[in-house]
Symmetry: D2
Subunit: 342 residues, 4 copies
């Protein structure tokens, strides 16, 4: 049996741990051979491969990123994409393809598997933790840890100067990183994309925190929006480089808080550091187990499935089902955490 492996979408700590898990078990227990496709779907599209065996996966467990490279290439948007992929797999004599990726990468895998008979197994990957059907995705714990450490650090600087510190963390469509790191970091306000926020309410929490002689930390997901959403867009459009991220909601919010409360406010945008570097122990554990279970699915011929975490078990679910719906923060959970606001 010859198995192909590819990683697609944004990088995420734990990708290498998945690859290592797949290859170690595949070679040692099942005697499989492997081929790596480079840069997500670009690899099979263009027939760009790298050798993948025990030597290639030595020492990669603690390394962030992916040894296979990644891209956002979508074969359904490429001319003759499906035919070219099938030809690549045939040429490489690949009988199964393990695709590690997020909504887009897995969406392609689902269609290839269901509609075009390409034998795919999926491994879910999103640093945002917003993929249905799995309790957690790897990379998320690492990102939350990095953001929490940053918030820990910002507390002392906020209190020395009695300033508001706004921390913008990742999360375009779901507020998981904001919610977890904000709670763990003892933030006084947490704003998520799932629920438009009221700037006046934010300012009132900020003010009450100052009244208690403490300096407030506001954690805001990059995708969070005020109730009057146009404000962000309007200001964002003035950015000289077209980078929404850097004059995003964090900057806008700090400015609004300053204007409305008269208190000094500063923004820190954590950015790419949240997705780089060595994975946390939890993510290494989860990613490795995903890898071990993905190769088991291949051995079982259980294609069109994705591995997923349920409690402490790794299970299999249809890829399509898993990517059908974004997993957002439950309003009840957000309300639960709200006891710490202000």
């Amino acid at each position: 049996m010859r198995v192909g492996v590819l990683t697609g979408g944004g990088d995420c700590p734990g990708l290498n741990a998945v690859i290592r898990g797949i290859v170690r078990k595949g070679v040692q227990e099942y005697g499989y051979e492997f081929v790596g496709f480079r840069d997500g779907w670009r690899g099979p599209l263009e027939g760009d491969t790298v050798p993948l065996g025990i030597p290639a996966v030595r020492g990669i467990l603690p390394r962030g990123g992916t040894i296979l490279g990644s891209s956002r290439t979508n074969p359904f948007k490429e001319r003759d994409g499906i035919r070219r992929i099938k030809e690549s797999l045939a040429k490489e004599e690949v009988q199964a393809l393990i695709t590690i990726g997020g909504e887009d990468t897995l969406g392609v895998a689902a269609r290839l598997s269901d509609e075009f008979g390409v034998p795919c197994v999926g491994v879910p990957k999103t640093i945002d933790n917003d993929l249905s059907a799995t309790d957690y995705t790897f990379g998320f714990d690492t990102a939350v840890g990095i953001a929490t450490e940053a918030i820990d650090r910002l507390h002392t600087t906020a209190e020395s100067h009695m300033r508001v510190l706004v921390v913008e963390v990742m999360g375009r469509h779901a507020g998981w990183i904001a919610l977890h790191s904000g709670l763990a970091g003892g933030a006084n306000v947490i704003l998520i994309p799932e629920q438009r926020f009221d700037v006046e309410q934010v300012c009132s929490w900020v003010t009450s925190r100052f009244r208690a002689s403490y300096a407030p930390i506001v954690v805001v997901a990059e995708g969070a929006m005020p109730k009057d959403g146009e404000m962000v867009l309007k200001d964002g459009s003035l950015d000289s480089f077209g980078h929404v991220r850097l004059s995003g909601v964090g900057e806008w919010l700090a400015k609004e808080i300053e204007r409305r409360t008269g208190k000094e406010a500063r923004t820190t945008v954590l950015g790419h550091v949240q997705r780089g570097g060595t994975p946390s122990a939890f993510d290494r554990w989860l990613a490795t187990r995903f890898g071990l279970h993905a190769i088991d699915a291949v051995r079982d011929g259980d294609f069109g499935k994705m591995v997923a975490l349920r409690g402490t078990d790794v299970v299999r679910v249809p890829i399509g089902e898993a990517t059908a719906r974004l997993k957002t923060v439950d309003p009840e959970l957000y309300r639960e955490v709200g006891v710490f606001f202000g």
Copy 2:
């Protein structure tokens, strides 16, 4: 409503986060008052209390240990223990008691609640993660993270000198810390209490690792035992201070590996650093949510229950049921991880 809180057993990162969660929600949402009992069951036994309100829990989220102190005092082993506890609670006008602790502390709470009508709610705590009915206990993730970082560090020293490094981690009865940190740290052998190990097999993994030009890391839980168990006990008894821990299985194993393989071997006993210091983001999250749900159980009058993690939900289970059985490593899971041995 006046609620008592105590923490019993060994300390564990996250205890303070639980206390903070209880008090913040109890005061702000339910208008409760709180009293802290010092040093586990010793507090209510001797009527030793500390004030517990919002000011007391300020800033304690990231701090390890417990602001309430802890002990292993067991009221059932104390003269008139139950009567004295009931009198203390009555004197303090406490109508509910939240007990945060491991098997022993919760065992007492279960009996007090079930047999003596003391209205207890439990919060499970064990750094070893060996308590049934909950997917994880707080403190465990922190311990695994510390052990993993230590293993990461030991790799380079092992390889520079081509030595065996044996790392002894916590876990008297269950191998969870060894299993998770060993997997996450890329250990070449992981030995757990649940399964007696064969020294010859360990030496054969060690030798095969050297043949591949790498230096082996052996992670061993303090409670792991060789098939010929007498060996450890016999050697352990020679320790001059009566401390089994420090001439425990790690030391014994390194000596055996040296003797049998002729390779240099060294031991590191991680010890107390695994249970101290600031909790990981995951543990802060879990501990805080346990606290929030424990006070909800009090509000609901749902006594005799313990909060527990199931997937991403916090649920309630009978305390007695939860402590009835030790949660050990499933042989199937141990076999799954075994693909990385050697």
Copy 3:
């Protein structure tokens, strides 16, 4: 003897360690009493004080920020500033004033001491390490450590996507943080305020790095400027919030690199996380020793002096001399590090 203490300017990890060192030695060895002035020079100006004794300094060694608060208030710019300060000191019966701060705070202390007979001892503080007369200032090592860890993390994300990552670090007038963290983090280009950079040269380093199949990391101090300086200013002026920091040189440079090389480039602005949180072991050591030596200077009546690090010794130098000249990166040292560019 009654001694006043104040901290001025931006916060910096280690301030609390200085205060603790002063108080512990002053109380225990010399029997002094202390009074803390709040928020830098604002404290003595407005007679705003806090009690400062052994209890106040318990547990503050590992805490970032300053328990005394800080501000940028300058008494020479306040009406009757000097008279009000003298009155405050007289009212508090303070016979010596220890001022912990940067160029501005120490500049005031130098004048107060030399021209107005206020008995001041200085402790140098600048996270930027740009103060003459001392080998290092505390806080710098912590900032470099944080920036280095961020750069370590960004390497894997850069290589997974074969992107340029531009990291903007602190340093308005001196490139010490950029130089040290860039070297320690294995950056491929380091740009400092001391030497205007040539964008074409930067692009050529970037390109040569890609040719070697690696992704480049560019570390740029916030105060670095291209040879054609107008470019930054022009673009900077378009920022909608008037925050130069966030559409500063890092953003501008990434855009230029993208435009000129055709490679994707991203920017991370580390911001306030560099100055917050627990100090590194080195900074705790240095700050504590500065505190111990500052109180010795008070005991010796050696006013108008500042403590400073020379090799491994703490010495005393005239405050005025120390703040007269900015300590910038020696061109020879920058050239030495340049061997790693490209």
Copy 4:
């Protein structure tokens, strides 16, 4: 010009950074070729070499240990050792040899250079920081950082149980790691090899700490000895494995404290984790600069010299002079730190 490089003695974070600095500058600026000798002096003795060029040093900056391996082999104790080394160097056409190591390795280099005409340049390496002529050695800052973090963690566990925690750190002949980490970690007692300690005095500090309602942390260097030194040796000799380290002074001291004060005491022996893993930013900086200056010494034909740190400068000193005397903790400095005891 063809240059040999070897690393000898115990491993130390930063060794790879030195090697990288040497090779990058040697190849890029001077056009030199390099050969690596394996495992310290064993390499040239047995003619065991590895290729050493730009590809070999890629990515090694953040990695602990040494890519060249290490050993304690001493050519002066080997039959025909000097002749064999000279033959190896001749065969490899090596015209200069850079030796990175501690007292023993550099002692050999000094004699080879001074008495036998082998053109050696030295780079000082000792995690214990006990080498004369240099302000600091690389690896020391990393070790101090790791020990400080461990002490930080132990505080909370000590206070939760009101126990004494004894932390045994590295340092056989010099107490630098104990002194720096003990100060930075807020230890209440620090014991170093340079000054025999009085157990009664230690117990009195411990007791006074408990009286103030805090739990004491005692940091003890592995080479520290009580005034009645026989006690340690006698107890140490009872260890069943002949490992002095693990039933060393830390264990002995905890037992004595328990016996004399009646307080519970526990020991943590940090061991090998102190010397493994990624170097701190400071050590990467120092080690890299040592490498850059060592190759400059080769270029200048300045043999028999060792690079050394003086303040912020890297200078050259005669190897022999540098290793002639152990750098121990100055009694005055120890007294300075003593203000924090008790």
